[in-house]
């Protein structure tokens, strides 16, 4: 049974250092690689009610864990200057907001549109599924394989995904392992 959370729930979480117990920043954008099946990093806001964007970013390698209440890093040096971070994180392609993209099976059936990403709580950013607005209406949750292909404005998933559409995050937590076993994945 896996504990899950959505990418939208990560936005606004404080970034806290394990060694210092300090909230050094806040999550602004969540940057995701569909091909890698995981977060590649996060852009940051400064802490404070009306505070704006922070120059520094947080690459996924520097994330110790993403939890329900905070994103943990070891210490302040985990935050990177944009020139020291991967380009995708330092200069996110704001026009490539995945939310709203079509989800298509390899066979060409549309399952709906991406409403949110679903991540494994406590990991350093592993994406295990999508929350979708179903083609027929209503919300659903689909598990994802470890890697995915992107074609323009659509995300392509294996055909058997159609059998695994869940009604809630709890159902998805239970479905992920079975789904991956069916695909012959770890």
């Amino acid at each position: 049974m896996r504990l899950l959370m959505t990418a939208s729930q990560i936005r606004g979480l404080p970034v806290v250092t394990v060694q210092g117990g300090e909230d050094v920043a806040e999550v602004r954008d969540v940057i995701y690689s569909p091909e890698a099946g995981r977060l590649v990093g996060v852009t940051l806001n400064k802490r404070g009610f009306l505070a704006g964007r922070s120059r520094e970013v947080l690459p996924a390698e520097a994330i110790h864990a993403v939890g329900q209440h905070a994103v943990m890093v070891l210490d302040e040096s985990s935050l990177a200057a944009p020139e020291d971070a991967p380009d995708d994180v330092a200069h996110p392609a704001m026009e490539r907001n995945v939310l709203g993209d079509d989800v298509l099976t390899e066979g060409g059936a549309s399952l709906g549109k991406v409403a949110d990403l679903v991540l494994l709580v406590g990991s350093s950013g592993e994406v295990v599924g999508y929350q979708i607005d179903k083609a027929g209406g209503g919300r659903g949750y689909i598990p994802l394989p470890a890697q995915l292909s992107v074609s323009g404005v659509a995300l392509v998933v294996p055909n058997i995904t159609e059998e695994f559409v869940q009604d809630d995050l709890v159902g998805l937590g239970a479905a992920v392992d079975e789904f991956r076993a069916r695909l012959g994945l770890p």
Binding site: V16, H69, A70, G122
Partner: protein, 151 residues
């Protein structure tokens, strides 16, 4: 002998050499990595001063004895200033696991009055060994993942 942060708040601080009363304990500054009390904050606001644990001749149930008055120093750096302002106080601090999940609020912390070594952290009705403490600061006390609630 075992002592607690809550019980020792407000305790009289005296100079051993002159028997003069120097003030009262307002906060205890902790070195989380050493799991040890680093210093005692005496007094509040602009007048707050710190005494290093090594400069205490005894942390007794009725009074904290300082070697002499000269051991009291105004805050020397950002961390000591934060401690003097109470921002690093462990009692009432949010307890966070290293996995990023909230565990509750630290209600109290016990320590060995002879050595200053931290013993237990009290979170609600749970008693957690201080060995689980990975770090603490103004936002949270971070505990290792052995403290994660079971799924």
């Amino acid at each position: 002998m075992s002592e607690s942060f809550q019980r020792s708040a407000g305790r009289k601080v005296m100079s051993r050499s002159s028997a003069k009363e120097l003030g009262a304990v307002s906060h205890l500054l902790v070195d989380a990595q050493q799991r040890q009390i680093a210093a005692v904050v005496i007094g509040r606001g602009k007048k707050a001063q710190l005494v290093e644990w090594a400069q205490l001749s005894g942390f007794g149930p009725d009074a904290v004895m300082v070697v002499d008055e000269g051991a009291l120093q105004p805050p020397a750096d950002d961390r000591e200033r934060a401690a003097a302002e109470g921002r690093l106080e462990l009692v009432g601090k949010r307890a966070l696991s290293e996995r990023g999940n909230e565990l509750g609020k630290l209600d109290d912390v016990t320590f060995d009055a002879d050595t200053g070594a931290l013993e237990d952290l009290l979170i609600g009705d749970r008693r957690v060994h201080a060995g689980s403490l990975l770090g603490s600061g103004s936002y949270a006390a971070v505990l290792d993942e052995s403290q994660e609630p079971s799924p």
